[in-house]
Subunit: 153 residues, 2 copies
């Protein structure tokens, strides 16, 4: 296999976000990709309501699944793609899992924990800094959330 | 049942911390208690290694278990007792779960996310503030960690 471009993986994360909305969950999706082969190792959308678990965010679900699959609490060979800026909970989990690269779709002023609020990776209590980029298919990643909450009102 | 004093519940959390150390896990324990009846609803120690899950902190495990038991992602009727200041991941999860009161044993300058680093509850991205107290059996809660890491060296 070969590593594809970032937008391709964000598109897959967006598919998971759409599926989450179908389950009446906040449409955010995440995909873990092997940093060399480009293999898609895990993909999930939010499932906090379905699973009765306030921590069942897309990022947490892919991390938990792959860690279980590999029998390790650290996955330094996998890059994370997520449609929305991770919240503080997810930012910390990403760091604990030793994920090296994080690619984000849209930013999240209200609940983000990377560029906003807690800015987890910039804290002295963050002991594993990572490479982060954002803006991949940001318009699509943001629009699906707007549509979801508009329909909810 | 009747609600007991905070040190009693912290003592139970300390038992979970001791059990965690027995499994070679960082000795931190957490207990969820019904805020009116004092019923002990969930108790766990860290299990990140045993479960191959970087998010399997004591706090996350009790929250996940009780939420599953109650079929809800919010548990506003339960107070959380934890031997060490929650990290940023746990602080966010506590807020998302709508836990009203948090009682902490020892503080954690290195990895804490409540009084240190991200100071999650003080951020504008934290949408559910809670009541927090610390210093319950702090010496015991701290010593068990020191002993654990000393033995590891």
């Amino acid at each position: 296999m070969t590593y594809l471009d970032h937008n391709t993986y964000i598109s897959l994360a967006l598919e998971e976000a759409r599926l989450a909305a179908f389950h009446n969950e906040v449409p955010i999706g995440a995909v873990l990709v092997h940093k060399e082969t480009g293999e898609i190792a895990a993909r999930h959308g939010n499932r906090t309501i379905t699973q009765s678990d306030p921590t069942a965010h897309a990022e947490i679900l892919v991390i938990r699944q792959l860690c279980k699959d590999l029998g390790s609490q650290r996955i330094p060979d996998y890059n994370l793609y997520v449609t929305l800026e991770p919240c503080t909970l997810c930012a910390a989990a990403i760091s604990f899992a030793r994920i090296p690269n994080l690619y984000i779709g849209a930013l999240d002023k209200k609940g983000g924990g990377v560029y906003h609020g807690a800015q987890f990776f910039d804290q002295p209590t963050c002991h594993h800094k990572i490479h982060i980029e954002h803006g991949f298919m940001a318009q699509d990643c943001s629009q699906i959330l707007k549509d979801f909450f508009k329909a909810k009102r």
